[in-house]
Homo-oligomer: 140 residues x 2
DNA sequence: TCGTGTCAACGACAATTGTCGTAGAGCGGA
DNA sequence: TCCGCTCTACGACAATTGTCGTTGACACGA
C-alpha cells in the first residue's frame, strides 16, 4: 500500500461537529465558510463557530484551505468512504470486540432497510463468499 | 414503541474510556474497582483513574453501585445490546445519513467475516424480508 | 490495641470541544 | 474617497474528559 502519491497522513478521528461539516463539504463540494454555515442553519450556532471549526480542522488536516480568494474556500481532505471506514472500524473495535456480525445485526434492525438495500447486501455476501473460496484455494 | 415496562431513562452516550469499562463489566459481571482496574492493566493508567471513571459513570447512570460492602461493587446499568444499538444508530445518523446499506458494506469489508457470520447475516435478511411482507399486509 | 494495607472521596489539572465576541483587513458602490 | 459589508484572525470561556495525588475511613491480623 501507499504506492501512488496519496500519502494521506494520519488525520485524527473527526469530532461530532467536525463530521457534520465534513458531510456538508462532501455533499456540496468545496465551499466558503459562509456557504457551509448557511447549510447548517437551524443549529442555532453562529458564523464564527463554523469558521473556528473549519480553521481547527485545517490545522488537523481534516480539510484543505484555498486562500487565493478573499473568502477562503475549504474542501474535505479525506473522502467520505475513508472516514466512514475509519469510524466503522473504530466502533467495531470499541463496542463490538471486532466481530462484525453483531454490528451488522444492529445496523439492519435499527433502521428498516429497503428491499433494494437487502438485495444489495445479499449480493455483497455472495461476492464475499466467492472471494472466500478463492482465498481458501490460494492461501491454504 | 416503549410498550413494556423497561423505562430505562436517558443515559448519555458512553465516552471511549467509559465504554471500555462497560465492556469489562459486561464480560465479567458486577465487580469491584480493583478487579475492573486489574482487567485493564497494560493501559498504564492508575487505580484512581478507574475509580473516578466509575464514580462519574454512577452519576450519569451508566453503572449501578452496591455500597453494602467495604469495596463497592459496580455493575452495568445498561445492556451491551442496548448500548450497541444506541451507538450504531448514532453512527448511522452522523456518518451515513441514516442509510444502513453503506454501514453494512463497510462493516463487512472491514473485517473478514467468518462463514458462520455470513450465513447468519443471510438468515437475518430472510427474516427481515419475511417480516417486511407481513408488515406490508398489516400496516399499509 | 496498633499498624498496615485497601479503598473511597475530593479536588485538581491539562487537553479538547463547541461556542462566541471583538478587532481588523479588504473590496465594492455612492 | 469614504462607508459599510463581508470575512478572517485571535482570544476567551465553560463544559467535558482522562488522568492523578492526597487524605481519610475501615478492617484485619499480630
Amino acid at each position: 500500500m501507499s504506492s501512488s502519491g496519496k500519502v494521506n497522513k494520519d488525520v485524527p478521528k473527526p469530532t461530532e461537529a467536525e463530521l457534520e461539516l465534513l458531510r456538508i463539504l462532501w455533499e456540496r463540494g468545496p465551499d466558503t465558510v459562509g456557504a457551509v454555515h448557511k447549510a447548517r442553519e437551524g443549529q442555532g450556532t453562529g458564523y464564527t463557530t463554523t469558521l473556528k471549526l473549519l480553521q481547527r480542522m485545517t490545522e488537523k488536516g481534516l480539510v484543505l484551505r484555498d486562500e487565493s480568494q478573499h473568502a477562503h474556500v475549504y474542501r474535505a481532505a479525506i473522502t467520505a468512504e475513508k472516514t466512514q471506514r475509519q469510524l466503522v472500524r473504530d466502533l467495531l473495535q470499541r463496542a463490538f470486540g471486532g466481530s462484525p456480525l453483531q454490528l451488522v445485526v444492529q445496523a439492519l434492525s435499527e433502521k428498516r432497510a429497503s428491499a433494494e438495500d437487502l438485495s444489495a447486501i445479499r449480493q455483497l455476501l455472495d461476492e464475499m463468499e466467492q472471494k472466500e473460496d478463492t482465498n481458501r484455494k490460494k492461501t491454504p
